[in-house]
């Protein structure tokens, strides 16, 4: 400790002593900074009503995939670069808690990470779509599945955890070896997997099976051009891993009150009702009414695969190492 | 006999040698005398092939060697300075050219030849020395021994004594004159000093700038 303090005092007093105290502002109006993962794409004008009501401007900044977002936030825990963080999920929440990242945090949405399939492909080729995780390793589905690298992608991580939940810590490695032998394609992020490599979406790629969300089919309907009434994709319900996302007030912010106001807005009816068709997640607010296209086509599994958050926290690095060794080396 | 016929050398767009001709009978030493800048060195380089000729021809014993690569001409050369191999000992400097003789020389023949040359230049005990440890005069002797070792048809010497002080120079000139005549080497020596030419050569050719005969 001492070795840090000596140069600290020296430099701090000479150069930057006055720098950090400039942030204290009176907590009415002003701005508040919301840090989120790259896929955070709410309705463009969604915060207008919040600003009108409270006089607070919301600045959204995107900080990479969920893993990077949380790790970088942890590196600056206590002196945050923003006031509110959106998007820690249940695979990372234990680390956030252990690292004292938040002053307080709340559940904001749930989602299910599931394998999706291209209905047309299986109909045209007269193959029955796979049903279980085990099916994906069958020779008939060889070279059909595209997944995300769990090191760099949160749905990728969720899918890996699904297999650990399903097959147990002893057998999941064997499962992945058989997946590798069956020609699974690995890409870095969800966008590459779903919008480029997957045959059932805009990219018209080569792979009819993709790790995505239980809410991906309604998204296909909402964004379809020309419009369709039925999604061209469907979900393998038995492969779903339950994801819970949290938002929290970052410890060290000087705008706690305003931050709480934003959290309240994010969990409030207006924002929660906008989420299904913009972020494609399921609201946690019981008052939020689901849009019809969402309730009709989204798969919201009653008993998804899941793992204990503490379990994930203590084994995550080791599991990722094991996975990398099996799949990428 | 070496026959240099009407050679021209142009370097950097400037004619350095113009229509130069020269004959050197076998077994004789010829001195090429002229002021600095008259193209003497360039003539030597053209004869041994380091610098290509723009026109004209060089032949030896009736064979045209104008386009023969340097290493097949069997023309030895002693440069003005810093031509010895700094990473090799005196012994290995002298033995260098013996490695390329066909048919290959045996190890014993190589040893004999190197010893013979060390004796010839009076440096029998210097075999293991490094080049950097030698004096200027000693370096010139090694350069001469090295050039003579692979039995060249012709030896070219480019102001070999210019970097030495005068006392040492006189002694070395005498020594080298003896060596050349003892070995009956055909030689062409370039110098700007007519006295030096007098002692060493059987014949003196003078050139002025730019060189024509």
């Amino acid at each position: 400790m001492k070795r840090k303090i000596i140069p600290a005092i020296l430099i701090a007093s000479i150069a930057f002593g006055s720098c950090s105290s400039g942030d204290t502002t009176i907590e009415s109006g002003g701005t508040i900074k919301l840090l989120a993962y790259d896929a955070f794409t709410p309705e463009p004008e969604i915060f207008t009503s919040f600003t009108k009501e409270t006089g607070i401007d919301v600045i959204v900044s995107l900080g990479g995939d969920t893993g990077t977002l949380v790790s970088k936030a942890l590196l600056t825990a206590g002196t945050p670069e923003a006031d509110v963080l959106w998007g820690v999920d249940n695979t990372l929440i234990s680390r956030a808690i252990d690292g004292k990242l938040f002053e307080s945090y709340e559940e904001v949405d749930t989602a299910a990470v599931c394998v999706n399939y291209d209905k047309d492909y299986f109909a045209k080729n007269d193959i029955a779509p796979p049903v279980t995780l085990m099916d994906l390793a069958l020779p008939i589905y060889k070279d059909m599945l595209v997944i995300q690298n769990p090191v760099t992608s949160s749905p990728g991580l969720a899918f890996m955890l699904a297999t650990i939940s399903k097959f147990g810590v002893n057998d999941w490695e064997q499962y992945w070896k058989s997946l590798r032998a069956n020609g699974v394609k690995i890409v870095d992020d969800w966008t590459s997997a779903y919008t480029v490599e997957f045959s059932g979406s805009s990219g018209k790629g080569k792979y009819p099976l993709v790790v995505s969300y239980g809410s991906s089919p309604p998204a296909e309907v909402v964004y379809s051009d020309p419009p369709v009434t039925e999604p061209p994709t469907a979900v393998m319900e038995q492969t779903c891993f339950g994801q819970i996302e949290y938002a929290g007030i970052l410890r060290g912010t000087k705008k706690t009150k305003n931050a709480q106001k934003l959290i309240d807005f994010l969990t409030g009816k207006i924002f929660q009702e906008s989420m299904p068709l913009t972020l494609f997640v399921v609201p946690v607010n019981p008052d939020a009414v689901l849009p019809e296209v969402f309730s009709k086509f989204a798969v919201i599994p009653q008993n998804p695969l899941t793992l204990d958050a503490a379990d994930i926290s203590s084994n995550r690095v080791a599991w990722l190492d094991t996975w990398t060794n099996i799949m990428l080396r | 006999m070496l026959d240099v016929h009407n050679i021209c050398v142009v370097l950097g767009g400037t004619p350095i040698v113009q229509d130069f001709s020269l004959q050197i009978p076998t077994g004789t030493t010829t001195a090429l005398v002229g002021p600095s800048g008259s193209g003497k060195t360039t003539i030597l380089h053209a004869i041994c092939g380091i610098t290509p000729v723009t026109s004209g021809s060089v032949s030896y014993d009736g064979r045209d060697i104008t386009n023969t690569p340097i290493h097949r001409r069997k023309i030895g050369m002693v440069f003005q300075d810093s031509d010895l191999f700094p990473h090799l000992t005196v012994w290995h400097n002298i033995a260098f050219g013996l490695a390329f003789i066909t048919p290959r020389l045996g190890a014993r023949a190589v040893t004999e030849r190197v010893q013979e040359l060390l004796a010839l230049v009076g440096m029998e005990t210097f075999g293991d020395r490094r080049i950097d440890d030698l004096s200027g005069g000693e370096q010139r002797r090694v350069a001469l021994a090295r050039a003579l070792a692979p039995w060249p048809h012709l030896l070219l010497l480019d102001e070999p004594f210019s970097a030495l002080d005068s006392a040492l120079r006189l002694r070395l000139i005498a020594d080298i004159g003896d060596i050349l005549s003892a070995t009956r080497t055909t030689a062409l020596i370039v110098t700007h000093d007519p006295a030096e030419a007098e002692i060493l050569a059987t014949r003196t050719v003078s050139i002025s700038s730019p060189s024509t005969t």
Binding site: G63, T195 | P52, H71, A99
Partner: protein, 527 residues
Amino acid sequence: MDKHHAAMKQTLATLRRAALVSSVLPAAWLIVFYVFPLGNIFSRALSIDAFTDILGNSGIRHVLWFTMWQALLSTALTLIVAFPITWACSRWQFTGQRFVIGLATAPFVLPTVIVAAAVRATLPQQMSSGITGILFAHVIFNLAVVVRIVSARWQQAPPNTAAAARTLGASAWKTFWLVTWPMIRSAVVGAAGIVFMFCFTSFGVIKILGGPRYSTIEVEIFTRAVQFGDINTAVALVLLQLIVIAIVLGLTAPRDEFGKKIRVHRQSHIRDYPRQRRLVLASVYATVLFVGTPFVFMFVSSFRLHHRWSINAWRHLFDGTLDSIGVDVARAMSNSLFFATLTVAITVPLALCLACASAYSSSPSVRRLIAIFVGAPLATSAVALGLGMIITFDQSPINWRSHWFLLVCAHCTIALPLALRVLAAPLQSIPATLRDSARTLGASPLQTWRKIDLAIIKRPLLICAGLCAAVSLGEFGATSFLTRSGNDTIPTTIARLLGRPGDIVQSSGYALASLFVLLIVGVMSRA
């Protein structure tokens, strides 16, 4: 006369005193922003088991092995590719030589991210990530190191020795191996050591071209620390990497056996040697083509969208299209320029203080100390520095982790050794008599310094400023660690764009990289 003598002595003494006093500032800088962060990494790495753990982890062993063999292979390929042009430029003179060498060695001043982007634009889609691209990029980037270091030595090798070997019967190849090679060997080995170091610690190239499969220690340090949050392993990897580099640089440090007399010999002009002419020109132009093609491809790719010609990728850089993926090019550019300006403003004065202290010092040990002190950051990877800073400046009152100025501090620390090199040599070469004559004409020590020293290093100062700006503009490793959202620089933005799928995003990435090349060329040609 005695009076004059005393005055002259006094000039140097005054300068020396002033320089020593002023060098306190850069010394403090290096202690705070280099010694402490690195020391912190050491003390952490040595106090944990992670160091033994990493060698037991088969995944990390795999990374170590890959790092090693790709670095060795990259070094070997660089030497091979660099040979023809090095030979041509060391032995021969030709019209446009300086320009051609400038072209072939230009990628070295570009950020590795840009070189990697260019290679990516060149390779066919299915090869866009993988070992071919990695090796290609490493060779293009490091070519300059070999050409510069080896040809400097080769030009000192007396041409007479090679010619003598030829007259003794050795063919051109035999002459090279038996005579030239022993004279340039230590330079080649030294250059190889530096190239190996760059490839061993490769980060930007692997980030762009490695895909999910390929990872070097440097990338693994980043992945562990930033994506896994596993600082202990990251710290242990930094230590391991530093040990390897120290060993390699120690083994390959140039020893100048035959370089006592430094004399550059006149080269032969190629137009006088019609037989070698074709070979020399072929070597040179083939190399320029090899180095330049990827950049042409990159430029062309920035005008391709959905298999058609289009300038939309360039337009999208600034029309807000990229907002949706959190990329703000205008902001990144203003950030980059702002950081670069600050880096220049801080580094140039620090380097000048150190250069003066080194040049005026009478004791060789002071000079050596400065050389070591400043050389060390060169051999330290940027990622290691970034990590060290993050784990050091983490407690109040020096809790600067989320401040942008830490980024500038890192850039300055990285630029300082290079800046010093540019300034030290010209200052040392000023003969004392010059100052003495100024003094005898009545100038005060300060006036003398201003009129003589400062005037002479005016141009080096400009070059130094350009270099510092280029370092800051292109820095990627430490920046990746220290950048916060909203503080993206041009290189991190390019990496983000190229890391995302989609034609528009990819082409925009190439457009931004092309723009950056133009920017760097502009900065460097000014200097």
